[in-house]
């Protein structure tokens, strides 16, 4: 990959973001265009902003990588990411906007009139936000590492610094335009190269069947593994080796690898002849992991009970989207509940349209970049494909475009998350600091995930996106759905449900990552908690509310009217009599 192009593209993305962020206000100097300046954001623009904020590195790079490594099952990820908005639309969108709440704690406060419920929701928001920030920083590390050759941790730190500066210095004065731009950039960065890639694929004299199992190297391919890996070989395989295989050193020697499992030490370079099958990757504990990818919540469990894990994934993503803090704050920009609904449908279309592309990259990645399967960095598939398929200066340019898109992906999600986490921190968790200490809160909001991401190194923090979705689904989904549709919800019920639902999901995944269980049903259940933790959250909330029926908030009836009755048409008090006339 041409590093100059890459660096230029990434810098351009960052600079454009900052410029739009600081100058993207609607400015008017004559009173005649006051009207334009004071017009609320139309649904399509807000939908673009929401989509821009939502499509993270996991969507941009992760899905393609997963599909390349694991195949068609992984298509459930984008489907779930998109379908979550339908659930949000039918149960939450309009009433949430009408509640006037800006954040999830605000909603708990508005509906339950309880400071305690507000505080619990705040802590969970910060938790979910941090979990979601981790993979963004890791994605940044991967991309920048690939583009510039910098070490992995540096990318994450760099993004954190940029985001902190932009947010804390008030650089993001108008985030809607920034995020809408980011969506366009991301879509372009995948769409334009995709056209060229498909053309190149079509023009390939021998387009391999993508569904071949296992995939094969198409030409002489040299692979350097960064970490020590174990590979499984099904048929005898010839390779030229520089480094160490099975504890024996080679220096450019030919080697015939027998069927079975072999260990390849870090730094070893293997050169395979054309048409040889790609060896599979074997993880340390004997489970076959296709790739360590951030979009794969606990990929290890997949082989145990694929049906259950698929449903676990569906539960978490369908119900978790409504609990993502950075998504919900964007709904406040809508002028009313009706606009919130329309915005959500447009988001469905925009996000769905985007998700048509990553699987295509996954497919092509399996054919043209099979060496990534061996090194385990399939997440890079999107980034390397133009170079492999198109090549030359054109390939470099397309690669740079994709790098800029990836940069936009983690910048937009990271800045959105940082803003909402910092907002909650400054308002609810550290209220003693006062409202003016937003900058300190921003620093804290970024510092924690950066520290964990640097300290954790190669640990599977990648699973955090799935964890974030599962925690959000088991805590905030019951709170929102019951809060909006059930008059019987009480503050003690909501608190108990938030803690048991969200808490148990957190425990489950924490146990899977750090814990002793590696396979069997217990492991699978813990790795995919949403299937049982969401009902648990609902049940706790309902039962405790029923037990504390006398604590139903006094304002419930009024709150329900506010949530569900349509607003008066805007400006009813002052209908516009004149518009669009210029003076002076």
């Amino acid at each position: 990959m041409n590093q100059t192009y890459g660096i230029v593209a990434v810098s351009a993305a960052v600079v454009t973001t900052l410029v739009i962020g600081s100058a993207g206000l609607r400015i008017s100097r004559t009173t005649s265009d006051f009207y334009v300046a004071s017009r609320t954001v139309p649904p399509y623009l807000n939908a673009m902003a929401i989509s821009g904020e939502y499509l993270s590195a996991a969507s941009f790079l992760g899905i393609a990588g997963l599909v390349a490594a694991e195949g068609v099952d992984m298509l459930w990820f984008p489907v779930g990411y998109a379908a979550g908005y339908l659930v949000l639309l039918v149960f939450v969108a309009a009433p949430l906007r009408r509640s006037g709440a800006y954040t999830l704690p605000d909603f708990a406060d508005a509906r339950l009139e309880s400071r305690a419920a507000r505080r619990v929701a705040s802590v969970l928001v910060v938790g979910v936000g941090w979990l979601y920030l981790l993979p963004q920083l890791q994605g940044a590390g991967l991309t920048l590492g690939l583009v510039t050759g910098a070490p992995r941790w540096l990318g994450g730190v760099l993004v954190a610094v940029v985001v902190t500066l932009a947010v804390a210095a008030g650089g993001m004065r108008s985030i809607t335009f920034v995020q809408a731009f980011q969506y366009c950039l991301k879509l372009t960065a995948l769409l334009v190269p995709a056209i060229f890639l498909v053309l190149a694929w079509h023009g390939d004299p021998r387009p391999a069947d993508a569904l071949d199992e296992p995939p094969t190297f198409r030409r002489h391919t040299q692979v350097t593994v960064e970490t020590t890996v174990r590979i499984r070989i099904e048929t005898p395989l010839r390779a030229v080796v520089t480094g160490a295989v099975d504890g024996q050193g080679y220096d450019g020697g030919r080697l015939l690898l027998d069927p079975g499992v072999h260990q390849v030490r870090a730094g070893t370079t293997l050169r395979f002849p054309p048409d040889s099958p790609v060896p599979g990757l074997e993880s340390d504990d004997g489970r076959r992991t296709g790739a360590s990818s951030w979009a794969a919540p606990l990929s290890g469990g997949k082989d145990d009970h694929p049906l259950y894990t698929t449903y676990g994934l569906i539960f978490a993503t369908f119900l978790g989207t409504m609990g993502l803090p950075h998504v919900l704050v964007r709904f406040y920009t809508n002028p009313d509940g009706r606009a919130a609904r329309r915005t959500t449908v447009i988001v469905l279309a925009l996000v769905g349209g985007f998700y048509l592309l990553p699987p295509l990259y996954g497919l092509l990645g399996r054919i043209y970049a099979p060496d990534l399967l061996l090194t385990g960095t399939t997440d890079a598939a999107v980034l390397v494909l133009p170079e492999r398929l198109v090549g030359g200066a054109g390939g470099d340019l397309l690669g740079a475009l994709i790098a800029a898109g990836a940069c936009a992906a983690f910048l937009s999600t990271a800045s959105g998350l940082t803003l909402s986490v910092a907002g909650v921190l400054s308002q609810d968790v550290l209220p003693s600091l006062g409202v003016r200490h937003f900058r300190l809160a921003t620093l804290l909001a970024v510092a924690v995930p950066v520290t964990v991401s640097v300290a954790a190194g190669n640990l599977p923090v990648a699973n955090a996106v799935g964890l974030a979705f599962a925690v959000a689904a088991s805590s905030f989904c019951p709170l929102l759905v019951l809060g909006i549709w059930w008059r019987g919800l009480t503050a003690p019920g909501a608190i108990a449900g938030l803690l048991t639902g969200g808490g148990s999901a957190l425990v489950a995944v924490a146990l899977t990552i750090a814990g002793p269980l590696t396979d069997g049903w217990a492991h699978t259940l813990l790795a995919w908690p949403a299937v049982w933790s969401v009902p648990l959250g609902f049940l706790t909330m309902i039962l405790v509310s029923l037990a504390t029926r006398h604590r139903i908030p006094a304002g419930t009836e009024a709150a329900m009217a506010r949530l569900h009755l349509p607003e008066r048409p805007a400006g009813q008090g002052a209908p516009t009599t004149r518009r669009g006339v210029t003076t002076s």
Binding site: V72, W76, L211, L307, W485, G555, A561
Partner: protein, 136 residues
């Protein structure tokens, strides 16, 4: 503004309400925003008609939401089961193609259509309630 030579500005704020002598019987609740101005009037009981209209609207909207959600579940829920029941890709390459077509492409337009349908119905419900309220 801010040009050299302009006289200096000083920051002025009003006196905190807490520190002020309370001459109008107010200010007793003037802590850090624990006043809920709406609560004073919000405690009034709503007319029965309106409460009925609200309940009816909520029921209709909830039913609509559940129908839309049910359709989503009915469309996507059984898919994993169906896919496991499909013949092995090795034997019938066509079945993999079906999975790709359904999960990779067909799902998204279906989601948008379902969402659009929901929005139209939900807005109609709200209009009906508003009309009803106006006639009452």
């Amino acid at each position: 503004m801010g040009a050299p030579g302009t006289p200096r500005r000083e920051v002025v704020t009003g006196t905190p309400r807490a520190a002020r002598v309370d001459h109008a019987g107010r200010g007793s609740r003037a802590g850090r925003g624990d006043a809920r101005p709406g609560a004073v009037r919000g405690s009034k009981e709503r007319p029965a008609v309106e409460s009925l209209a609200l309940r009816a609207l909520m029921r209709r909207q909830l039913r609509l939401g559940l129908v839309a959600f049910g359709l989503l579940v009915a469309l996507l829920g059984p898919l994993p089961l169906v896919f496991t029941a499909l013949p092995d890709t090795g034997a019938r390459p066509g079945s993999a193609l079906i999975v790709w077509a359904v999960l990779g492409v067909a799902v998204y337009p279906a989601l948008v259509v379902l969402g659009r349908w929901y929005v139209v119905r939900a807005e109609r419900n709200e209009r009906d309630t508003a009309d009803l309220a106006e006639r009452a």
